[in-house]
């Protein structure tokens, strides 16, 4: 019951929230549908600098609104997606891009997970090997003798030892 109520409540908020975002972007109209698609794409690919987990398209921060307006003006004036990306990166750095470019300073980001995976795999292999080695270790004569005597003991005496 609790679950159903909270589900319905979130659904309600979802419904009232969606037109809000649509309304903020509806003011940007292009004659060329290709331009409109490019505009949507480019602001979706950019991070809002104020609310750092939102895209430029989704954020209602004032700076995001200003930047959307700026990008809209630039695109209306004939600039393309690459111009916009260059404009934004020159001011805010690679941080604004969700699609991180591949270059020496970002190698740790791109290859770090792979390196960690390899290290993890090596550690795992080593641990597994070590385990199988200990299992296969042969008993010394002394140990074998002790084992034999233990196994020969009648079961009731084993209980007695408890």
């Amino acid at each position: 019951m609790m679950f159903v109520r909270s589900f319905l409540l979130s659904l309600f908020f979802l419904v009232i929230a969606t037109p809000l975002q649509a309304a903020t972007l509806a003011e940007y109209t292009f004659e060329d549908p290709q331009k409109a698609a490019d505009f949507r794409e480019v602001i979706d690919e950019m991070r809002c600098l104020v609310c750092q987990n939102e895209s430029l398209a989704g954020s209602n921060a004032e700076l995001a609104v200003d930047l959307r307006n700026e990008i809209f003006d630039m695109m209306t004036a004939g600039q393309d997606k690459d111009d916009i990306i260059r404009f934004m990166v020159a001011r805010y750095g690679d941080f604004v891009l969700y699609d991180t470019p591949m270059k020496p300073s970002t190698y740790p980001l791109w290859f770090g997970p792979l390196v960690l995976l390899i290290i993890g795999a090596l550690v795992l292999i080593r641990a597994l090997r070590k385990k199988s080695v200990t299992q296969e270790t042969e008993l010394s004569n002394d140990e074998q003798q002790r084992l034999d005597t233990l196994l020969k003991q009648p079961s009731d005496s084993k209980d007695a030892q408890k």
């Binding site: 750092q52 004032e62 700076l63 990166v89 805010y92 750095g93 941080f95």
Partner: protein, 181 residues
């Protein structure tokens, strides 16, 4: 070897966590700071009215020839209020000119703020539309840029500046930039 590893691995993990936590204690550390691509570049061109005199324009060229701080602030910015006293004290030291970029603000409110809290600024650039702030890569006030005599941005701090930061970082950099000319 593996006997030591049992102790060294947790120790290393602890050291890494401790180093990150220690960094968090630094009051000038801002986890939301973004490295500025404008370091080493010219201050972008602008021509904007002064906050104090709406009819007088100030341009980036007017500021050439001296080392100065450019502080982005606004009356709607709470951290700017917290920072202001530090700037007033820095202004009293007379060691470096501070220019203000009044960002997306209302003129009357900004003027009243300076009358009430003190005015450490040599002049205030009134960036009502926030267009110059975009060219400077500003994403949240306060932000402070250190600019050399050639108009090149040498340092940027996002967030309020502390007296420690001024003493340990900004003033030594100002002295060094002046030496270079």
């Amino acid at each position: 070897m593996s006997r030591y590893l049992r102790f060294l691995v947790p120790l290393a993990i602890f050291a890494v966590i401790a180093a990150f936590l220690f960094k968090g204690l630094d009051e000038d550390y801002n986890p939301r700071a973004i490295p500025s691509p404008l370091i080493g570049k010219q201050v972008p061109e602008f021509s904007l009215p002064l906050l104090e005199q709406p009819d007088t324009q100030i341009t980036n060229k007017d500021l050439l020839g001296k080392v100065y701080l450019l502080n982005v602030w606004a009356t709607w910015c709470v951290s700017c209020r917290a920072e202001h006293e530090t700037l007033v004290q820095l202004g009293r030291m007379n060691k470096v000119d501070i220019y203000g970029l009044n960002w997306k603000d209302e003129r009357v409110a900004a003027q009243a703020w300076l009358r009430q809290l003190g005015n450490p600024y040599a002049a205030n650039i009134f960036d009502n539309k926030g267009r110059t702030a975009i060219d400077l890569g500003v994403y949240g006030a306060p932000e402070t840029f250190l600019v050399d005599a050639q108009g090149i941005i040498r340092y940027k701090h996002a967030g309020p500046v502390s007296p420690d930061l001024i003493r340990d970082k900004i003033l030594p950099m100002v002295a060094e930039l002046r030496k270079k000319g």
